[in-house]
């Protein structure tokens, strides 16, 4: 791995450009903080087709044994997963109305 040749004390990047493996702040920004609606997954309706996983723009939907967990740290609430879900297993709920549940329940 390349070493920084112009390293300043307290620098964030070890490289010349903004290379990042997503493991360090602030390179791994919690992009879900400005979300206004959140996706709620009804697991009983999920047919495990994977379309939500494929379409999620920030790729915050992961893969678990029997469903696709949504990482709300990064979900911006765009609703594409709900739009694409063929069984309407995902619905978008306004943040203020959400009961605190996550997509992973």
């Amino acid at each position: 791995m390349a070493v920084n040749n112009d390293k300043k004390p307290g620098g964030i990047f070890a490289t010349e450009a903004a290379w990042c493996d997503g493991s360090k702040e602030p390179l791994c920004l919690p992009t879900g903080t400005w979300r206004t609606t959140r996706p709620i997954l009804n697991q009983e309706k999920c047919v495990y087709c994977g379309l939500c996983y494929l379409y999620c723009p920030p790729q915050c939907i992961g893969v678990a044994e029997d469903h696709f967990p949504i990482d709300l740290e990064f979900c911006k609430g765009c609703g594409i997963c709900a739009k694409e879900c063929p069984t309407k297993a995902i619905v978008m709920v306004p943040e203020g109305d959400a009961d605190g549940s996550t997509g992973e329940k």
């Binding site: 450009a17 290379w19 493996d21 390179l27």
Partner: protein, 400 residues
């Protein structure tokens, strides 16, 4: 099938062909191609090389210049050596992608054949396209002749990919005057170009995209991270000035030609007055300098070879103590009512001293920069150096 020459050879070729021959010798892995006058011949020639088996590269024919830049940016970040070429409308159509390539610190090498940009439709020469991408964070070099196009293209790889630089480079040359002018060009032997670029392989490897690894670039650099990267970029630009001098010297060792690095000075040492210019006009200017010298006017010439970063130190050293300075621009600085290179040289005044500085705008839209035109410039600079009143900005092509 064309056989690759084992030793150097001379060919009478156009400036565009010189760029293509040089690019081939640098063994690019990926070339993106989109035609635009007067550059099209560069990529046509490269496609020809690819078709006849003498260029082993991935050739990506794209649907526009924005994609052309994004293709080479992505390929470069994956570790490839890349090449593309454009001009005018094409250059400004990739404007956002140029920021991206520079911000990612991808060492792309691109030819830009200078041509007037859109607005007043003009299929003709002019440096306004290059000037308009000044602040995209690229290194910008300017060639004067077919040989220098060839040489600068090879030097550009050595400079761009240097671990201490890691910046994209645009090699500029005047459309029509140089793109289609055929002159004798010494084509280097492959083993010499390989040897010239070999030191890059001994350097630390820059970070590259690796399929399967969770590594990305450029997504987030908010706040302090952004500022840190900008400062690194700026520092790399400053380092590239000295590096360019070293690359020029290393080039001379292998190929026997040297151009003076960031600027080339001609008869400046004992000169009272100096004319600064760039590109194809330099040849004409050199002839006029010799003629005026014969008449007893102690004029010198400074040729700008590196436009970004701006060679502040070299220019200050070359111009300090002169009695008057003229700058010939082939483009304009909107809002400043003068030429853009003149504007920047005027900013060096604290180092140079307060002397008459004259801006000459000539050669817009293929208006020939003639010997009488440059003679007039020299006379004006000389007159100003004698304490006479002078016109600060003159548009010579409009008869001023």
């Amino acid at each position: 099938m064309e056989a690759l020459a084992k030793s150097k050879q001379f060919k009478v070729i156009t400036g565009n062909a010189a760029a293509a021959y040089a690019a081939r010798l640098c063994r690019p892995d990926v070339v993106s191609l989109y035609p635009i006058t007067p550059q099209s011949e560069v990529i046509e020639q490269l496609e020809n090389f690819h078709a006849n088996g003498t260029l082993d590269a991935e050739m990506v024919a794209v649907e526009g210049e924005n994609s052309a830049q994004n293709v080479v940016c992505g390929a470069s970040m994956a570790g490839a050596r890349v090449f593309t070429a454009t001009s005018s409308y094409g250059l400004v159509f990739m404007y956002d992608a140029m920021f991206q390539t520079a911000g990612y610190r991808a060492p792309v090498v691109m030819i830009n054949v200078n041509r007037e940009p859109p607005g007043i439709h003009a299929v003709c020469s002019g440096q306004q396209d290059m000037i308009s991408t000044r602040d995209t964070g690229w290194i910008q070099l300017i060639a004067e002749s077919g040989q220098e196009i060839f040489d600068l293209t090879i030097m550009a790889y050595r400079l761009a990919e240097d671990f201490d630089v890691q910046l994209p480079i645009m090699v500029n040359y005047d459309g029509y005057y140089l793109s289609f002018l055929a002159e004798s060009v010494e084509i280097a032997a492959q083993h010499d170009v390989d040897a010239f670029l070999a030191p890059l392989e001994d350097q630390p490897k820059r970070m590259t995209l690796d399929p399967g690894s969770s590594l990305g670039c450029g997504a987030h650099g908010l706040g302090a991270g952004f500022v840190e990267l900008r400062r690194k970029h700026m520092a790399a630009m400053e380092r590239s000035k000295e590096k360019f001098e070293a690359v020029d010297a290393a080039f001379a060792e292998v190929f026997g030609r040297s151009y003076g690095g960031q600027v080339e000075e001609y008869r400046t040492e004992d000169a009272d007055i100096v004319l600064v210019t760039s590109g194809s006009a330099v040849g004409t200017a050199r002839t006029v300098v010799d003629a005026k010298r014969a008449q007893g006017i102690k004029i010198g010439l400074v040729k700008l070879r590196m436009y970004r970063p701006f060679p502040k130190e070299r220019l200050t050293a070359a111009l300090k103590g002169k009695k008057a300075i003229g700058v010939l621009d082939r483009s304009i600085a909107f809002g400043w009512d003068c030429g853009p290179i003149f504007q920047e040289i005027k900013a060096l005044t604290p180092g140079i001293g307060i002397v008459p500085m004259l801006s000459f705008v000539d050669g817009l839209a293929n208006m020939d920069i003639t010997k009488p035109s440059i003679e007039r410039m020299v006379d004006d600079i000389h007159s100003a150096s004698q304490g006479n009143a002078y016109q600060e900005v003159a548009w010579l092509a409009s008869g001023e």
